[in-house]
């Protein structure tokens, strides 16, 4: 089966039974991998009332069609489950080397069912697949454990781990690999921990079959040669995503003090320039990538041990550095290390602590809640103490272990108004009050407020930041193309920053697999996944859909106090009008429920049947659904 390892594993953790089946070629072609595999399996297999951290959730490890191939750039692997943060579909991907290694071991998909009776790790060495005791590893930090397991098993194993946070069910726990690459979002680490799986270790030495290796090699070599001189190549190689820190501040979208502000006066103290000058140890790339956006760094803080971590990337600098108001890049890098090693997403983790800092600022939590400690803006010692309270679920740390939404629900006092989250997932590192399409993107996303679904900062600028009309169809387009890379399982940045076209990606897939696939077909796959995830979300959480697509009050009605975006806010009426336009562009009804017509067009009429049974099928649209859902507009690069 060209392009694939050939084998699917299904493991019942309660009984230890390991079942191998040949990967179904029709399933692979229809859903393409990673996010697609996850979407269909979750829909088919997880009972709608299953507790995300209980035995009936499943945990999926899924590389995709491009993973491990010679292409731009098949480094990715997806993890899937029902999210403990959103109670909906979760897929979270990461680069590094694990996905390719798994394909070289011969595996396209792993489904873990139920809960192991004791701490275990999944050991894969080509055809050898075993559940092994992880007693001696339980409790260890993610990075510490990866090093320990490489010492125990061999440097040539690729290893993914969870930290104490994942063991303790913190809803924004991540999975870590390659000393700083994460499947960070959706709380996939918490679900892995709930299964009592501490790590996955893989070694693969087999070849990945390709349909037309010569054609794929020529295409990829041509792309390599062409992109080496792209104007974005040099800044990306030098700074990685940290380049964006100044860019975002200048455009008034840099989260500062828990999004109270959108401009950080001291951003130059925590930007990419400062990172490279003061902390950089080495540039670091994912498998097969010639852009090396990873910045491996060392934090040096008097009185603390030197720490090493990949990052901080833009999102970490924004949501830890800006949102917690740090003014020292070493502190941001150290906080990055703490979050990584404890096993928490730096984005939701940073946001949750920033939210707690604002609660402290307002007197909603006090020293009495903090074991006598404080929680001051930009204070690394306060940050560390509180972070460890969360990881261990000590005292009020247990409240914030549920993320900003869960904490706000527990704290009351209208704290939900300044919890920057959608559907239980914290915003990415871009404020939205001058960027309404970004707000729409966050609030309509299938997994909550994550920019990897739709990032529109340059689109908002291009179409006018004070304009609201006409943007929703572009958001729909972006919600199809951006997650497409997570379905193909390749890095999105070669499209977004280096102008490698989606058509070239599809051509790669054709050479790799022999499929007669087109870009139009891929878009329909991505739209199908989006709609299936929407149906699944409604089936789990009730309806109508519109009641879930809610913006935090701060982002609707609190004008930005200063900086480039001073005075701007979106306004509830404008937001609701954008939602109307969005639903129409998707072929959903005004309640935000998918219609049978659109689900039938996408080949998932079964979801219409399921929605109809619970009264959440959208009412037919008077004029029918749009022939093409979404309007193409490629965002300009920085």
């Amino acid at each position: 089966m060209d392009g694939f390892g050939g084998t699917t594993l299904r493991i019942n953790l309660a009984t230890g039974e390991i079942k191998r089946t040949p990967t179904d070629p029709a399933f692979a072609r229809e859903w393409m991998g990673a996010r697609g595999f996850v979407s269909k399996l979750l829909y088919d297999e997880v009972p709608r009332d299953a507790d995300p951290l209980g035995p009936d959730n499943i945990f999926i490890v899924a590389p995709g069609v491009m993973t491990g191939s010679f292409s731009p750039v098949g480094s990715k692997i997806g993890f899937g489950c029902i999210s403990p943060a959103t109670n909906g579909h979760a897929d979270s991907s990461m680069g590094g080397h694990l996905g390719p290694e798994l394909k070289y071991a011969g595996y396209d998909l792993i489904v873990l069912e139920k809960i192991a009776p004791e701490a275990q790790y999944l050991y894969i060495d080509n055809d050898t697949v075993e559940l092994r005791s992880a007693d001696k590893y339980w409790g260890m930090g993610s990075i510490d454990l990866e090093k320990r397991m490489k010492d125990d098993l061999g440097e040539d194993f690729q290893i993914a781990t969870i930290g104490p946070a994942g063991e303790n069910g913190i809803v924004f726990s991540c999975i870590t690999h390659d000393f700083g690459r994460q499947a960070g979002r959706c709380g996939v680490g918490a679900v892995m921990g709930s299964k009592r799986i501490k790590a996955i270790a893989v070694r693969g030495t087999k070849s990945l079959p390709a349909h037309d290796l010569d054609a794929m090699t020529k295409l990829t070599c041509d792309i390599i040669e062409r992109t080496k001189t792209h104007p974005n190549m040099a800044p990306w190689q030098k700074y990685g995503t940290a380049f964006f820190v100044g860019w975002s501040n200048e455009r008034g979208c840099f989260p500062t003090k828990n999004f109270q502000k959108t401009y950080h006066e001291d951003w130059k103290k925590i930007d990419g320039e400062r990172l490279v000058e003061e902390c950089l140890v080495t540039h670091k790339a994912c498998f097969g990538c010639w852009m090396n956006c990873g910045k491996y760094s060392r934090a040096r803080i008097p009185g603390k041990p030197d720490t090493y971590v990949e990052g901080p990337e833009y999102e970490t600098i924004a949501l830890v550095g800006g949102s917690c108001a740090f003014t020292n890049i070493h502190h941001v890098a150290y906080a990055n290390y703490l979050l990584d090693n404890l096993g928490m997403d730096t984005m939701s983790g940073g946001s949750t602590i920033a939210f707690a800092m604002e609660c402290y600022q307002r007197g909603i939590i006090t020293k009495d809640d903090l074991e006598g400690n404080e929680l001051r803006w930009g204070n690394i010692d306060d940050f560390e103490h509180f972070l460890r309270m969360i990881a261990a679920r000590r005292g009020i740390g247990d409240v914030f272990a549920r993320g900003t939404k869960g904490a706000a629900e527990s704290l009351g006092q209208d704290t939900i108004a300044f919890a920057s989250q959608a559907k239980g997932m914290e915003f990415s590192g871009y404020d939205t009050r001058w960027y309404p399409a970004q707000l729409l993107s966050y609030c309509t996303s299938d997994i909550g407020a994550h920019h990897n679904r739709s990032w529109t900062i340059t689109t908002d600028i291009e179409l006018g930041r004070e304009n609201y009309k006409g943007k929703a169809p572009v958001v729909v387009y972006l919600q199809h193309i951006r997650p497409l890379f997570d379905t193909w399982s390749c890095c999105r940045l070669f499209w977004g920053e280096l102008d490698v076209t989606p058509e070239e990606h599809v051509e790669t897939i054709r050479h790799l697999t022999g499929w007669d696939v087109t870009l139009d077909e891929c878009f329909l796959v991505s739209e199908k996944i989006w709609n299936l995830n929407r149906a699944h979300y409604l089936e789990r959480n009730g309806g109508p859909g519109r009641k879930h697509d809610v913006a935090p009050a701060r982002h609707l009605s609190e004008p930005v106090p200063d900086g480039p975006a001073e005075g701007h806010t979106v306004g509830a009426e404008n937001f609701e009008a954008m939602l109307d336009e969005y639903y129409a562009a998707r072929g959903w009804d005004r309640d935000g429920n998918p219609t049978r017509e659109v689900l039938d067009v996408l080949g998932i009429g079964f979801a219409a049947d399921d929605l109809e049974k619970i009264g959440l099928l959208g009412k037919p649209l008077p004029g029918g659904i749009p022939k093409v859902r979404g309007q193409k507009l490629k965002p300009k690069a920085m």
Partner: protein, 127 residues
């Protein structure tokens, strides 16, 4: 002509391993490459690409004279090689590689493809 390794420039991307195997084995399989990258993490956080420096120790050790100097590179004659792996033991820097699916040891033949794809000048050609 030889390949110069500047390990400080290596990012660990393994493009060189990929193109090496595609070129010589017509396979996608970086574990079958004539290059390896040792990664030293979390500390000190360095990559170390390693490949043949064409010293000829393997050719001297080969009991069936299956390794010949062709231009600047020592090349394994796969028809002559008996896969005894004496050359692997003889290599002073551990860059005669083996793989369970490869019929002979694997070594660099200076095709230079790796230097063409490397985007950080970790591998460059010097005369």
């Amino acid at each position: 002509m030889k390949i110069k390794v500047t390990k400080e420039n290596c990012t660990g991307c393994k493009l060189c391993l990929q193109i090496c195997t595609i070129t010589h084995k017509h396979e996608i399989n970086p574990k079958m490459a004539a290059i390896t990258i040792d990664a030293h993490f979390p500390e000190p956080g360095t990559f170390e690409p390693r490949l043949c420096v064409q010293c000829g120790a393997c050719a001297q050790a080969c009991p069936v004279d299956a390794i010949h100097l062709e231009g600047d590179a020592y090349v394994i004659d796969e028809d002559e090689c008996t896969n005894c792996e004496i050359c692997v033991d003889a290599c002073p820097i551990g860059v005669m590689f083996t793989h369970p699916d490869a019929p002979t040891p694997i070594k660099c033949d200076l095709c230079l493809k790796c230097t063409e794809v490397c985007n950080t000048s970790a591998l460059t050609v010097v005369e």
